[in-house]
Every structure is written in structure tokens, then in C-alpha cells.
Symmetry: C2
Subunit: 267 residues, 2 copies
């Protein structure tokens, strides 16, 4: 790969989409000194808000741009990428999507340079975030495009890696477990507490320590609780306590068995 400093860099970006990723990446790029020339979207309200925030124009079509951007960044849902990519099949500039689960090959119809610019993070519109914490995973149709996208990530967070489509998919699957499913465990905990008339706040010190531990330990070493100890008495008491919550009881059983299986696999 080329040295980042030797290559030209991306100065202007048009963002397609207005979802959580579009919102936060526009903001992140804007704050990193990149000019967002346009926010392209068919639905107007959110696009206008984003455009105001970043000094961009809110457009419904790229053709309305007065000049072409250095990068056309598709921040649309995975379902929409094939359609949007095909809409831009005659586009000759650098085009990239931001999806983990979509291959670079979605751009095969395109004749211009293409890439993937995937930010591994959990984006909620209502939560301010530190963009320096986002690692980007980059793939591109040419070395030059890869270097350009890496240069962009360098400006936002300084954290980036080149990664092919297959590895990116497995990274995404692992992220669903580590982030989405783990957050859902907190949701279930909150629901159990609520039904017992208890506040979720009681768990906060435990939640913090749980994360704190895996900053230093591998999650395998950090595992505690009745499942890893195979404490059958507690496990039975807990399953009984969940008797009137069959869905949560099923999850409790499956995850307990999984913890025990993993333990014996690693012994």
C-alpha cells in the first residue's frame, strides 16, 4: 500500500442517506475538516437538518451537485445498497458503501473506482459520541482508492484496517454478539427487575465492572456466575424463578449450556 502522505486526499464528500450512520459520519467528516458538499436523500426533513449541521446542500439527486465530490459515500441500509449502487452505475468517481455485510462486489456494475468504508461502532442518533473511538475497515477496487479511504479514516479517528469482504462479515457477526446481544441481555435484566419492582440502576456498578474486567482479562478468564461453576442448585433455583417467563427461561437454559460447553472445550 502507498504511504498515506504521498497520495492525494479526499477533500469533499457527498453522503447518500439520512440514517444513524449517515448522521454520525457526516458529523465526523465535517468535524475532521472534510467538506460535505451534499446530503442526498429522497426524504427531506432529516437531510435538511444534517445539511444545516454540516454546511452541505440537501439534494434529492447527485446530478443536482454543481461539482462532483471526491467521494460518494452510500450510508443506506443493506437492503437498499444494490438498488442505489445500480442507480450510480454510470458514475465515474470514487464510490463507497459503509456496510459490513455487503461485499465490494455490489459495485460490479460500476465502471469507476469503488470501496467499502465500514465504521465498527454502535450508532444511536440520540447519543453524542467520540469519533476518535471508531475503527474503520477498508476494502477497495484499487490500491489508490484504498489509500484514499484510509486517509479519510486517518483524519476521523486514526484507526483503520484493510479487510476483505469475508472477514468483514465475520467481524460484523462477532460485533452483533459482543454489542447487540450483550445490550439485549441488559434489556432482559431490566425487564426482570421491573417485574420484581426493582430499579435497573441497582445493576449499574455490576455492568461497569463487567466491562472493566474485559479491558484486562480475556472474556474467557472474566467469566463468573453459576453456569461456569456448574452450580446446579442455583441454576435450578433460577430456572424455577423464571417459570412464568418461558422466553427468558429458554434463553437462560441455552446460554447456561453454552457457557458450560465453552468451558469444557477450553479445558
Amino acid at each position: 500500500m502507498k504511504d498515506l502522505k504521498e497520495s492525494k486526499s479526499i477533500q469533499t464528500v457527498s453522503v447518500v442517506g439520512t440514517g444513524n450512520v449517515a448522521w454520525h459520519l457526516s458529523k465526523a467528516l465535517h468535524e475532521a475538516g472534510i467538506r460535505i458538499v451534499s446530503i442526498i436523500s429522497r426524504s427531506g426533513i432529516r437531510a435538511k437538518e444534517m445539511a444545516e449541521l454540516t454546511g452541505a446542500s440537501a439534494l434529492t439527486d447527485l446530478a443536482d451537485n454543481t461539482s462532483l465530490p471526491d467521494l460518494l459515500l452510500l450510508c443506506v441500509s443493506d437492503d437498499a445498497i444494490p438498488h442505489v449502487a445500480s442507480q450510480y452505475r454510470y458514475y465515474k468517481g470514487l464510490i463507497a458503501h459503509t456496510s459490513a455485510a455487503t461485499g465490494l462486489d455490489v459495485f460490479t456494475q460500476s465502471q469507476g473506482p469503488s470501496g467499502v468504508f465500514y465504521p465498527l461502532q454502535t450508532f444511536s442518533i440520540i447519543k453524542e459520541m467520540d469519533y476518535k473511538s471508531i475503527p474503520f475497515f477498508i476494502e477497495a477496487s484499487s490500491e489508490e482508492s484504498a489509500t484514499l479511504l484510509a486517509g479519510l479514516a486517518e483524519k476521523i479517528s486514526g484507526r483503520w484496517h484493510y479487510l476483505g469482504s469475508e472477514s468483514r462479515l465475520m467481524l460484523h457477526v462477532s460485533a452483533v454478539f459482543a454489542s447487540n446481544f450483550s445490550n439485549h441481555m441488559a434489556t432482559i435484566a431490566q425487564s426482570i427487575l421491573k417485574d420484581a419492582g426493582l430499579e435497573f440502576d441497582l445493576l449499574r456498578p455490576l455492568l461497569e465492572q463487567t466491562t472493566e474486567k474485559i479491558k484486562e482479562l480475556s472474556p474467557t478468564d472474566a467469566q463468573t456466575g453459576p453456569a461456569i461453576r456448574e452450580d446446579m442448585k442455583i441454576l435450578e433455583t433460577h430456572l424455577k424463578a423464571l417459570a412464568n417467563k418461558p422466553d427468558e427461561q429458554k434463553i437462560y437454559k441455552l446460554l447456561t449450556n453454552s457457557i458450560i460447553k465453552y468451558k469444557h472445550k477450553h479445558e
Copy 2:
């Protein structure tokens, strides 16, 4: 309940057991200025180490104590509590266990005052921890004993609540989801990454942000990912990617369905 300041307080404690909870509570009590008079255990090595650390004697039987402690604290596994409690059925001093899933009624044979002193935290022996972050959940056979135990928790962390056996059990079940199961999600993520030749470290910024978010948002509001969006295309791609990991695939399916169910329950 009595005002803590009006009542006498616990000055000396004997700890029964040498597991992770015994280890950390002995240390926490010692650091809070409580005198650990003895560590009582049949297996010697760990008891000696704990005794040295806290200035206590390592004993195999409470009867070897020269004077009785203000509190006899049973930090043994749930399985062992009934047996150990019955061993001390003639003991007249304050006795308490530290288990979430065992009722106060395990002490019915005892004629002395009894209680529960449950620290809600994930204890690993290899990890240093800040004892100020531990909330204690207290139950006792009398108001006086409850106040004494609260006074002890006040010295360690200042965080304590009175809670009955049934609520404590549900709190524990919720903690298993929020901490043990959530840590297991990270373990599965690590295993998926490993098989793909990727480092667990790549997920660290995501893990941190996942916890960071639920400091401000309720876990329901913090949920992101393909399941909550019901993005069927990604969900199918992920299930296919897990084709040669049937256990993880089963967990993926069950938790995805659960996220979708919870979403519609709350709509």
C-alpha cells in the same frame, strides 16, 4: 430502621470460606478497618494467604478462636451453605451468608441472630477491584442485625439496600443476564473472530461504547443492529455465515427473535 449512627457496630469478623467472594470481602473489610479475626477453612493454602493479607488467623474450626467475632460471615458456595449453617446451629452470635439465591430461612435451625450480606458484583480473584463500587443487599432476622450489617456495608462502599429473599433472587437472575451472559457474548465473539483469524482487540472500542451508551440511555433505547431493524437480508447473511457453528447459530436465532419480540412488546 434504626439510625446507623445510634447503634453499636461490627468491629470483628470471622470469614468462613476461601473462594473469590471470601477473598475479596476479607480484603474489603480489612481495608475498611474491620478486624478479620480468622479465616476458617478446611483447605489450608488459600486460607493462609488470605490470613497473611488481612492479619487474621487461619483456622479449621471457629471453636479455635480465642474470642468470638461480632459477625460470622459464611462466604461458601450455595451448595455448602445448608451444611455449614447447620454446623453452626448452636452458635449464638450474629451469623450471615453472602448468597443471592439462598434464603434467610437457611438459618432456621440457628437460635442466634442471622442475616444475609449479599455483595452484587462479579468477583475474579485475579482482578483488583474498587470495593467502593459494590452495592450490598441486606436482610436479617431482626432490625438490630439489619442495622449492624448495614453499618458494615456503609464502611466498605456506602452503598446498601434492605431486600427480602425473593427480590434478592430476582435481582440475582437479572445479574446473570446483565453480567454473566453478556460476558459470554464477548466470549462467543472472540471465538468467531479467532476462527476468522482476527484479533478480539478490534472489538474493544465497540464494547466500550456499548457500555458507555447504557450509562445514559435505557438498554431498550440503546439497542442497535440488524435484529432491532428487522433487516432480514443481514440476518440471513449472518445465519449463513454461522452455518458451520450450529450452537452459535442457534443462539443467534433465539436472541434475534427475542430482540424483535421485545421491540413489538414495547411498541
